[in-house]
């Protein structure tokens, strides 16, 4: 602030001076551009160039005052020497931070009229996650990061209730899976929160953007620098894991026996079998006489209490980065190599990722500068795990249908006889439902191979110190191949239609290629205007072209002809193959104007025109604006001294777009509209890739299909195309207050926002009798209101002693239905009829029927069901959290630092799939404990060790209707007064009560969605400067012990709620009520070493 005040002095000329040249740098030697160098005596001044260099007229006795935003202003006497270097220290109390905003424009935070938050890349490379974006969790208020527990799983990012954020690297949008970014190459992440900040990027930025600035070449005195960062983390100890009972084995209704056959493949059993009491039962490894076909029973014991623990291994994540940067007076260059090797906790799973980054700039002349950047990333995995409800996933094997009646290590000999046949049939604990986990790990392989390249070339021509023109062209391209080798003998019973017992397996291949080019020409202008230079103007105007194309292939064999040969041509019946591609072209024009008057206010305005190839001519060109105003009150209002800073800001923005989608599925899904799981294979997770291309969702068309005996057939659109469709529209407004107290030791930033998403492009239902299911309309508007709050403080600060910094982020929002379409009063979506004003994350499902005293009503021993129509579903909770938060503490003492972060999401409900599946399977610990456990034991005893049939023992606490006929509304009985009730006395068998009873009641499985994690802890030590300075080589050396995901607090610890960041989101309008199985992941511990040469 002072800096600016100082600048406003008069500009009297002074005689008898000489030219002094020099350079302003950071303490680490990086040139500071735009620093102000002033001669105190004369008030002559200049600003440094991009390299930090300056030349100023001064006499050799004067004093230079050097200031720059974010640094402590210093004074330096000119001692006669030319070419002086002035190093500025970081100002820890600085408010004059600079952040990167849209189109790479650096702006002072204090002048910005909307909400942005920045985090330095260096903060995320110590206690690191394999995925760099996962590291942002808890650090940005309003941003929810749903870290995906699966290897190569894409984190679910939710910013103010919207998904599909735009990623921008060095000013240009890129298409990324978030795994192809090397965190060591990142200087900073800036989160532009919503349209207000990112309107300039157009519709791709309508949900906000994560703007990444990469590191550049050094301004080091010696001309070069080398940085090394290495970290190794071990993953061990489950963070959240379903607990299994080990009292009962596989079977049904307390009975089990392996058939008197070699392969018993006709039983698909749950874990509702006999209790482990050492009794003799025919089992998979009991002696079998091939002549008589008789199996001799062997003792039934819990041999595999720790099967899961014995199977899973310690994961390792090893990351290394070496970066070389160099510069001279005309150029700079940075080269960086990174590798990340991850060994998964599931055996034989791993991921390797290599990144090579190169960027360079060269000043051809004073006016012309060229720069280029290239980033190459290769990901490769011979096998990544898959997870869903099916025989392909370990959680299904161990936690849904996990019996303790076999020892997993007995299956390590994959083809052990008598069942095993080398190369054809594995030795397994059963052949009806499950597979041997060791066989899966070694033979059922899903490979991944992806190459990402992005980069740009740019030329900037400076007309003068105020105006410049930049031409840039960028590419973002990737290609990916995924294959799946399904080995001979693997069990896909009842899942894959063409499976048969003893088959030779299958092979699948999924190829995707994306190419996109963004080219823009941008004119920049920056000047002070007016008689007294009271007005500052920063302006930008440009045009851009985006060229996009995508193509994909999906193929699968229909049972292999030769076992072990994984090729599409090796198919018993003709392989199924699909191709799908798209192209798009977007032309845009945009401008941005920032106008400031003295210290009083800054006004910003942007506008953008897009021309999209995805809309029909006539409606395909459209304009949208944004505007903001901010004012630093403390610059001109005299506040009490404890208030050191106060700023208000208000902004509004509008964004339009149409008929694109953020992700794309396999060619099979794009062609048929069905998931590969639901429509083809019966198992497996569908892979979605980042896309941002055309959806083609508004065209009446025929697609090719096949329904019968491979004959060709057609499908016609089910949604009626609308030739008059206009782009969708989003508007948002926000207001914020930023205050600092006690000499900036304490501060807060508060933002309130509201936005209207709509009219959207919405496939609104039509009467069934039109013979269509929906028509595209410009309808449905939802409203979001919320706030974000950041509190930062430095309770302790001492140059030599203990320092303590705290950052607390908190945010909350609600999304409601604001308007539907025409005169419509209800919106049928996600299984409920919503009316205006309803929260859209409200979930309605099947619930218990209750009497007047809230007792559950039973009938025939199981819960009584209300009618099943939509109006009798009950409210089962809101899916979005009430709020999310993160607390980050950093302690520093001399050369030691300790930091830790707690973050979490509080409130909301979720459907706990693994709980329900594990209960249905008889595996979950709750199925054998408490009242269920007592009834299960009593029922077991009633069989007299299977001498007689089991007798029902579980009498659910509740009532039954003994008189009258209930009438229902909203899932409740409305005529309670006409009914008579009595206590339920009907016993049910425990398996029936759970599987045929409560498993059909969604209410039972809704659990609290709240959780808190101790996300990261780092204990670091840097070698003191006194030692470093003696070394010839090292500039900085630091070590850290790190931990990630160390503690997990939640009501139920059988699922890691982290990945479910979104309940309802307005990007795809889906309601995520859970319903997913996930891989079990662990705590991570490790160490990090950083060296600078």
């Amino acid at each position: 602030m002072l800096v600016i005040v100082l600048l406003l002095g008069n500009l009297n000329a002074f005689a008898q001076t000489q030219k002094i040249s020099g350079k302003v740098t950071t303490k680490t030697g990086l040139g500071i551009s735009g620093a102000i160098v002033r001669v105190r005596e004369t008030n002559y001044r200049t600003t440094t160039d991009d390299a930090g260099s300056f030349i100023i007229q001064a006499d050799n006795k004067s004093t230079l005052v050097v200031s720059s935003l974010g640094f402590i202003t210093i004074e330096r006497k000119i001692t006669g020497a030319d070419n002086i270097t002035i190093a500025l220290a970081d100002d820890p109390t600085s408010l004059t931070e600079v952040v990167v905003t849209a189109y790479g424009v650096k702006r002072e935070v204090k002048k910005i009229g909307y909400s942005v938050q920045e985090i330095k890349g260096a903060e995320l490379t110590i206690a690191r996650d394999a995925n760099p974006i996962n590291s942002l969790v808890g650090k940005i208020s309003g941003l929810s990061v749903g870290a995906n527990p699966e290897m190569l799983g894409r984190p679910e990012l939710v910013l103010r209730g919207s998904k599909d954020l735009l990623f921008v690297i060095d000013g240009v949008p890129v298409n990324t899976d978030t795994w192809n970014i090397s965190p060591d190459d990142i200087e900073s992440y800036t989160v532009l929160k919503g349209a207000n900040a990112s309107a300039l990027y157009g519709f791709r930025g309508s949900n906000g953007a994560i703007v990444i600035t990469t590191k550049r070449g050094t301004k080091e005195k010696k001309g070069w620098a080398v940085d090394v960062n290495s970290s190794t983390m071990l993953e061990n100890g489950f963070l959240a894991v379903p607990q299994s009972q080990t009292e009962y084995g596989r079977g049904k209704q307390m009975i089990y026996s392996y058939g008197d056959v070699l392969y018993d493949n006709k039983q698909r059993l749950a874990e509702w079998g006999p209790r482990f009491e050492g009794q003799n039962i025919k089992q998979y490894d009991s002696p079998w006489d091939p002549i008589s076909g008789v199996r001799t029973a062997t003792p039934w014991t819990a041999r595999g209490k720790n099967n899961f623990e014995n199977f899973m291994q310690t994961g390792i994540i090893n990351t290394n980065n070496v970066a070389l940067s160099a510069s001279n007076d005309r150029s700079d260059i940075r080269m960086s190599f990174s590798n990340m090797d991850q060994k998964g906790m599931a055996p034989n799973t791993k991921l390797n990722s290599y990144t090579m980054a190169l960027n360079a700039s060269y000043n051809i002349s004073e006016k012309l500068k060229v720069e280029a950047s290239l980033n190459y990333n290769k990901q490769y995995s011979p096998n990544i795990p898959d997870v869903n409800y099916g025989p392909n996933s370990y959680v299904y094997m161990f936690k849904v249908y996990g019996s303790a009646d076999y020892n997993i290590n007995d299956l390590k000999d994959l083809y052990k006889g008598p069942q095993g046949v080398q190369g054809l049939i594995p030795y397994a604990q059963e052949y009806g439902r499950e597979n041997s986990a060791w066989f899966m790990a070694e033979k059922w392989l899903r490979s991944h191979d992806k190459t990402d390249v992005n980069g740009y070339a740019k030329a900037t021509y400076k007309f003068n110190s105020h105006a410049s023109l930049a031409l840039r062209t960028q590419i973002s391209t990737w290609n990916q191949v995924r294959t799946e080798d399904v080995p001979a003998g693997i069990n896909l019973n009842t899942y894959t239609p063409w499976y048969y017992f003893g088959w030779y397996g299958d092979y699948r291949e999924d190829r995707r290629n994306l190419f996109e080019n963004n080219t823009d020409l941008v004119f920049n202008y920056d000047n002070k205007l007016g008689k007294n230079k009271d007005w500052s103007l920063t302006a930008l105007a440009g045009v851009s072209e985006r060229s996009f194309n995508y193509n994909s292939f999906y193929g699968t064999t229909k049972a292999l002809a030769i076992p072990g040969l994984y090729a599409l041509s090796n198919s018993q019946t003709p392989a199924l193959t699909y191709t799908w591609g798209s192209k798009m072209q977007v032309y845009s024009g945009f401008y941005s104007l920032d106008l400031g008057y003295k210290n009083y206010f800054s006004i910003a305005h942007t506008g953008r025109v897009d021309n999209l190839s995805t809309l029909p001519t006539g409606n395909n060109t459209f304009y949208y604006p944004s505007g903001s105003i901010s004012s630093v009150l403390s610059d001109y209002i005299h506040f009490p001294s404890f208030i050191s800073f106060a700023k208000v800001r208000v902004s509004a923005a509008e964004v339009k777009g149409a008929l694109t989608q953020s992700t794309v599925a396999s060619a099979f899904t794009q062609i048929t509209g069905q998931s590969t799981n639901g429509g083809l294979l019966g198992y497996g997770t569908d892979l979605m890739s980042s896309y941002d291309g055309p959806s083609y969702a508004n065209q009446n068309s025929y697609t090719i299909a096949s329904y019968y005996n491979n004959q060709p057939s057609v499908n016609y659109s089910t949604t009626i195309a609308n030739p008059l469709l206009k782009p969708f529209k989003r508007t948002s407004q926000e207001a914020g207050l930023d205050m600092k107290f006690l000499k900036n030791r304490l501060g807060f930033d508060f933002t309130y926002f509201q936005s209207l998403n709509g009219p959207q492009i919405f496939a609104l239902g039509v009467p069934n009798s039109t013979t269509f299911s929906a028509q595209n309309v410009n309808g449905i508007t939802t409203q979001k209101k919320g706030f974000e709050f950041s509190l930062s403080g430095s309770p302790l600060r001492s140059a030599k002693g203990l320092n303590w910094d705290v950052l607390f982020n908190y945010s909350s929002y609600k999304e409601t239905l604001y308007d539907i379409y025409g005169g419509q009063t209800t919106l049928n979506m996600n299984g409920h009829n919503y009316v205006k004003g309803d929260r859209l994350d409200a979930f309605y499902g099947s619930a218990f029927v209750r009497d007047g005293s809230n007792n559950i009503v039973y009938a025939g021993g199981v819960p009584l069901f209300a009618p099943s129509d939509i109006n009798n579903k009950k409210f089962l909770g809101n899916m979005n959290p009430d709020y999310i938060f993160g607390i980050n503490n950093k302690f520093g003492y001399k050369n030691f630092t300790l930091s830790f972060q707690f973050d979490g999401r509080i409130g909301g409900k979720i459907w706990d799939e693994v709980y329900k599946d594990g209960m249905n399977g008889g595996t979950s610990i709750e199925s054998a404990s408490g009242a269920f456990g007592a009834a299960r034991l009593a029922e077991w005893k009633s069989t007299n060790q299977n001498a007689t049939g089991n007798v029902a023992q579980y009498v659910a606490p509740g009532v039954v209707i003994t008189g009258g006929t209930p009438i229902y509304s909203g899932g409740n009985i409305t005529n309670l007064k006409d009914l008579t009730f009595a206590a339920n006395t009907t016993p049910a068998k425990i398996q029936d009560f759970i599987s045929s009873g409560i498993c059909n009641v969604q209410e039972y499985w809704m659990v609290d969605r709240s959780f808190v994690k101790l996300r990261e802890v780092t204990l670091g030590y840097s070698l003191p400067q006194s030692i470093i300075s003696k070394s010839k080589y090292f500039k900085a050396v630091s070590f850290a012990l790190v931990g990630r995901n160390l503690l997990y607090f939640a009501a139920r610890k059988d699922i890691d709620l982290d990945q479910f960041a979104s309940g309802y989101n307005d990007s795809d309008r889906s309601l995520n009520n859970g319903g997913l199985l996930q891989s079990v992941n662990g705590r991570r511990f490790g160490f990090n070493i950083k060296l600078s040469f």
Binding site: S613, Y702, Y707, N709, V714, G765, S868, D992
Partner: protein, 527 residues
């Protein structure tokens, strides 16, 4: 400066080259055919014939619990038995494809008298009747009209009247095509998955019309304009103008193959045979009457066999009660009290090689429909003869012949329990089966029609029960799962109609059910 300019020029050239616009139409989806494309009519016919059978209708699907052929004893695998119905599914999709097929056929064949038009009329009638049976009044005359976004409802009477007219038109269009050499020619080898000839399609159309007419029996006398008995008689009395099926070879059947697997295999039911039992309702009118069909279709109760009974002993075939709470059933059949489906027949082959294909419209039903009409005096045919024809056709459809033997296996087909000898003659001599004529005869006809509907013809068993009360369906217990534990008489309108055609929907409710979308209300058809 000059160098700068050259460099800028070069760079600009490269940039423009890199980003040059993509040629051609980028708007249209390159992965699909536009609506203006020529689409061979046979591809649309393929869609229609492939999808004529609704998902809930084929063998061992949900409807056979509601038809009280089978009972689920474990909901996780076989679902529940409850009649907890809500919004109906619908067949308006068929109407869309009929309209598309007519437009393409007219464009490509330049006339409106080709076979695609005949079949389109039939599919339309079939689809509108399908929905009206479930709901009552439905939008028909304005349905599928692109210019009408909220189609008006036609009352049920008009739906049937128009449907009968459509069937008449279908017969008239196809009649001249189904003559001479054409008669035995397959209509469209790739488009018609049923693979019927011109003559067979004509028979299907008229046979189906008889089903529709007999389903109107309650309205036979008070709706002169529909002329129900006379229309029925016109078909029976004029076989050259209205040919009908003459054997099960004329059945409209969905045949399974290696791609389209037999439903128990496709739905993953095959390892779970023990999770369902045969309904006692079915055994009441089969095993109780010494019906040899139980040998072929079911397997006896395991406990009865271990108790010493032979597989040919009809008392070894014990059914489960559909109205019993699923929690009180013998889940997974662990105690072997109740009979299961014949595993070998229905579940052992993925392509259904050991079982019958799925019948949409069959010859045995036709026989019973004629017998019923004769019993009611609509036609002068012999009800006793057609009754016997129906039983014999059904027996032969299930592969049973007098004196033949059936190997009866256990519930998972792993063990042959014994051989049963088929004695159709003694079955026919059973006093409950030997035709009695009159009102008792009518019950016998309806009972045998019900048995012949085992695992076929979708909802027809339920509709016949709803119309006539024959045979007696069990209800009243918790397993029925409705508020009063009685079997509902209809479905709720589709949610899309309720939400987006609200005014017309409400008018239809007022017109029929006192303003309430009531599952227990009687529609005009069965009043």
């Amino acid at each position: 400066m000059k160098i700068n300019l050259i460099l800028i020029g070069l760079l600009a050239t490269v940039v423009v080259g890199l980003s040059s616009c993509q040629k051609g139409d980028l708007f249209a989806n390159p992965n699909v055919a536009a609506e203006s494309n020529t689409i061979p009519a046979s591809l649309i016919l393929n869609h229609l014939t492939s999808n004529l059978m609704k998902e809930e209708e084929p063998v061992i699907s949900q409807v056979y619990k509601w038809n009280q052929n089978i009972v689920s004893n474990y909901s996780y695998y076989f679902g529940v038995n409850a009649y907890n119905w809500s919004n109906t599914s619908d067949t308006y999709d068929n109407i869309k494809y009929c309209n598309l097929m007519e437009a393409q056929a007219k464009k490509q064949l330049n006339n409106t008298t080709n076979v695609y038009f005949a079949l389109s009329k039939f599919f339309k009638a079939y689809s509108f009747v399908w929905m009206s049976q479930r709901l009552g009044d439905i939008p028909m005359s304005q349905a599928g009209n692109a210019s009408i976004s909220t189609p008006k409802y036609d009352n049920q009477h008009d739906v049937y009247k128009q449907s009968l007219a459509l069937l008449d038109t279908a017969n008239m269009i196809i009649a001249p095509l189904a003559t001479g050499a054409n008669a035995s020619k397959v209509v469209d080898a790739t488009g018609d998955i049923f693979g019927l000839t011109f003559a067979q399609w004509q028979k299907v159309i008229n046979t189906y019309k008889l089903r529709v007419l007999i389903s109107l029996s309650k309205r036979a006398t008070d709706n002169a304009d529909l002329n129900i008995p006379a229309q029925f008689a016109a078909i029976i009395n004029n076989p050259s103008q209205y040919p009908i099926m003459t054997s099960t070879k004329d059945n409209l059947v969905y045949k399974y193959n290696t791609i389209n697997l037999y439903p128990p295999n496709r739905a993953g039911y095959s390892p779970y045979n023990m999770c369902e039992n045969i309904s006692q309702t079915f055994f009441n009118v089969t095993a109780n009457y010494n019906d040899p069909r139980v040998y072929a279709l079911t397997t006896p109760s395991a406990a009865q066999i271990t108790g010493g009974k032979s597989v040919s002993d009809f008392t070894a075939y014990v059914g489960e009660d559909n109205s019993k709470s699923i929690a009180l059933m013998s889940s997974y059949s662990t105690d072997g009290k109740y009979a299961n489906l014949n595993y070998t027949r229905y579940m052992s082959s993925a392509t259904g090689a050991n079982a019958e294909p799925y019948v949409l419209i069959g010859y045995p039903e036709l026989c019973f429909n004629i017998a019923e009409a004769a019993n009611l005096g609509w036609v002068t045919a012999s009800d006793a003869t057609w009754y016997l024809n129906g039983i014999k056709a059904s027996m032969s459809w299930y592969g049973l012949t007098q004196g033949g033997t059936v190997a009866v296996s256990n519930f998972d087909g792993s063990k042959v329990l014994g051989n049963a000898t088929v004695d159709i003659n003694s079955f026919l001599a059973n006093p409950n089966v030997a035709y009695q004529g009159g009102a008792a005869g009518l019950t016998q006809i309806l009972t045998q029609k019900y048995v012949a509907f085992f695992m076929n013809s979708g909802y027809e068993s339920y509709y016949n029960w709803r119309r006539t009360g024959v045979p007696t369906f069990v209800q009243g217990g918790a397993g029925i799962g409705t508020p009063s534990n009685t079997i509902p008489l209809r479905w709720l309108y589709p949610q899309g109609e309720i939400s987006y055609n609200t005014a017309n929907y409400n008018a239809a409710l007022t017109n029929q059910y006192g303003g309430k979308d009531d599952l227990n209300a009687k529609m005009w058809l069965i009043k």
